[in-house]
């Protein structure tokens, strides 16, 4: 799924996937591990993201994740996904505040 990345000023890319075992949404961290919390995601420039993405795709089976791709975020703390879809992936279904990912360890 290759598409040209066009980032607006102040935006970066993060890598995301789903965990193989339970399907949960995860984000790629600077230490190379996948985490439930987008707050721990590594913020990448468009150029770095391409290499990181192909490495992560190669490593996916080893890391126990599926469907790796990149998503644009506003580079604030914690990073804020640009699309509603990625916001929902990051924070959980909006209709179940009790399942908010932020409240999980």
């Amino acid at each position: 799924m290759k598409r040209p990345v066009r980032l607006e000023p102040g935006q970066k890319l993060v890598l995301t996937a789903n965990r193989l075992l339970d399907g949960r949404t995860v984000w790629w961290g600077a230490d190379g591990t996948w985490d439930l919390h987008i707050g721990r995601a590594a913020l990448l420039d468009a150029n770095d993201a391409e290499a990181a993405l192909s490495r992560a795709v190669e490593q996916a089976q080893h890391d126990g994740v599926v469907g790796v791709y990149d998503a644009a975020v506003k580079a604030v703390t914690p990073p804020e996904p640009v699309t509603v879809r990625e916001k929902i992936r990051a924070y959980g279904p909006t209709v179940h505040p009790e399942f908010a990912v932020e409240t999980e360890q």
Binding site: T25, G67, R85
Partner: protein, 557 residues
């Protein structure tokens, strides 16, 4: 063990098959986990077993053949929700149930638990013949001509693991009804079947083909008016064969049977089916009265006994309690037995999530089914639950029991009875969230007196063009669209799935999410202000046309 009321009793062959299938899938899961199978290899295998990957987790779709469950099965679904999910399940427009927070590694264990109660997730996905849906009032409604469940079961057996139809060009959905009042959306299915009694006592079948929603909504066309029972399977086999041979496989958006029927015309399709029938060994497919009787004998018949004053007791209770009376008005249907009544339990509490039920509610529904309706439960394609055979003099006790678990909402067929797909809160294909809009609308029109005043009005919401929420068939339809990552909704009016099926007309440009509820409220006000006599929303719309509604929806303050 006594026979279940309402659905077919499995035998040894069914059960052995399920166990073998689970063992096979468990092997596939293990090979996926150890890396022997790649995700690309595994995906079609898991889909064949009803396991999807959504935004936050795996989703398991469990088949409920023709929407009918017994209490032991429903209780098991509640236990699965509690043990393996987050304490709730979601009933769908295909009369199935979905669990939204499933772990891949738990799936074989869940399938084993389901098999304990003769349930599975097979053919709930993939390009095969999917779960056959049937009239939710089957075998109970006063207006029914033929009980469609026996034939629905025959279709289930015919289509399950049908070797020729495992890799169709696209998925294939069949619905069957035996009532002159279409409650299955027969004309929005790949094949829709309406049964009625034939001259010799055996039923005959009117068959529609090529209906569907999704990207290209099309109303099914009549292929045959009167197929005899003995030729039902041969005819269906021939219809699906023609599709299998000529349906497009090069373009997923043009692969459904509806596109083929439109491309060649229904006459040419009929000729192709007749040509196929002419060279088939009809003897092999003949559905004999004995075969039908054998299937029928595996369904228990409920013993419908009621005291002679049951009707009078109910009438008195309604007089004494207007709140109960309002619920009876909207949530019941006439039973073929004068001492009984059909109760529809709304899974649409004001401000709630359409079709969701907690494990506690699911467990209570199973108990109430045991107490009031022969342990039988039906799931409707409008995401509600039906108890089919309730004694009239006990209806109020049932209602009180429902109220204890928040299931006594009086809104069936009214504006609060909203159908919505999971949308962007769960679904990987979505453009917009369907559930929050449904919740806001539900809250806006929460007042049951107001709902009764508005009358018959169905809202359907889909989060994308795949139309799982049947928005094209809604009296008011909402379709989620994505504009630069933001949620918008396109409004349609005038759709209907009942008799006189129609596809809703688009009112105008899509509205931002936060303006949509107000626009619908203005639409409804426009109807209330201009309706005459006892008109429903659809009546007023038909009389006035779309323009006043368009103006109301887009009016800005």
């Amino acid at each position: 063990m006594s026979l279940p009321v309402g659905h077919y009793q499995y035998d040894r062959i069914d059960r052995d098959f399920l166990q073998a299938r689970i063992a096979e899938f468990e092997g596939q899961v293990n090979r996926r986990l150890d890396g022997t199978l790649s995700e690309d290899e595994f995906k079609p295998l898991r889909l064949m077993n009803g396991l999807y990957l959504q935004l936050h987790a795996y989703m398991l779709r469990v088949a409920i053949p023709y929407g009918i469950l017994d209490s032991r099965q429903l209780r098991k679904l509640g236990e699965i929700a509690r043990r393996y999910d987050r304490d709730y399940g979601h009933f769908t427009t295909r009369q199935n149930i979905q669990f939204n927070w499933i772990r891949l590694e738990d799936t074989p264990a869940i399938l084993r638990e389901l098999a304990e109660v003769d349930m599975h997730a097979i053919q709930t996905s993939g390009n095969c013949i999917r779960n056959v849906t049937a009239d939710e009032y089957a075998g109970a409604a006063a207006d029914e001509l033929v009980d469609p469940r026996v034939h629905a079961e025959i279709l289930r057996q015919w289509s399950t693991l049908h070797p020729e139809f495992t890799f169709l060009p696209r998925k294939f959905k069949i619905a069957i009804s035996g009532s002159p009042n279409d409650r299955v959306a027969a004309r929005f299915h790949d094949i829709g079947i309406l049964a009625r009694p034939g001259e010799d006592g055996a039923p005959v079948f009117r068959i529609f083909v090529g209906g569907g929603l999704g990207r290209t909504p099309i109303i099914g066309e009549e292929l045959f008016d009167s197929v005899r029972e003995e030729h039902l399977l041969a005819t269906l086999e021939a219809i699906v064969r023609v599709y299998n041979a000529h349906g497009r496989r090069d373009n997923i958006y043009k692969a459904r049977i509806k596109i083929l029927v439109q491309a060649i015309g229904v006459e040419a399709y009929r000729e192709a089916v007749e040509a196929e029938l002419a060279q088939m060994d009809l003897e092999r497919y003949r559905l004999t009265p004995e075969a039908v009787a054998a299937i029928r004998s595996r369904f228990a018949v409920p013993l419908l006994e009621a005291p002679s004053d049951a009707d009078a007791v109910l009438a008195e209770q309604r007089r004494a309690d207007p709140i109960f009376d309002r619920w009876v008005r909207s949530n019941t249907h006439v039973h073929r037995d004068p001492g009984h009544i059909i109760a529809t339990i709304s899974l649409k509490p004001a401000g709630g999530i359409p079709g969701d039920a907690t494990s506690a509610q699911i467990g209570r529904l199973a108990d109430l089914a045991d107490a009031y309706s022969f342990g039988e439960i039906r799931i409707t394609h409008l995401q509600n639950v039906v108890l089919g055979h309730v004694r009239k003099d006990r209806l109020r006790d049932l209602w009180l029991g429902l109220a204890e678990v928040g299931l006594a909402e009086a809104n069936i067929g009214l504006i609060g009875d909203i159908v919505a797909c999971p949308g962007l809160d769960y679904c990987a294909l979505a453009n917009a969230r369907s559930i929050p809009i449904a919740q806001k609308l539900g809250a806006r029109f929460a007042d049951t007196a107001l709902q009764a005043e508005i009358g018959a009005l169905r809202i359907n919401i889909s989060g994308c063009i795949n139309a799982c929420g049947h928005h094209h068939a809604g009296h008011i339809g909402l379709l989620g669209v994505d504009k630069r990552g933001e949620e918008f909704f396109q409004l349609t009016v005038g759709g209907r799935a009942e008799n006189g099926a129609a596809i809703g007309m688009i009112l105008g440009a899509a509205l931002p999410e936060d303006e949509t509820v107000d626009a619908i409220a203005r639409l409804v006000d426009c109807y209330l202000g201009r309706r005459e006599g006892g008109e429903t929303f659809l009546d007023t719309l038909t009389r006035l046309g779309h323009e006043p509604f368009r103006e109301a929806a887009y009016e800005t303050v």
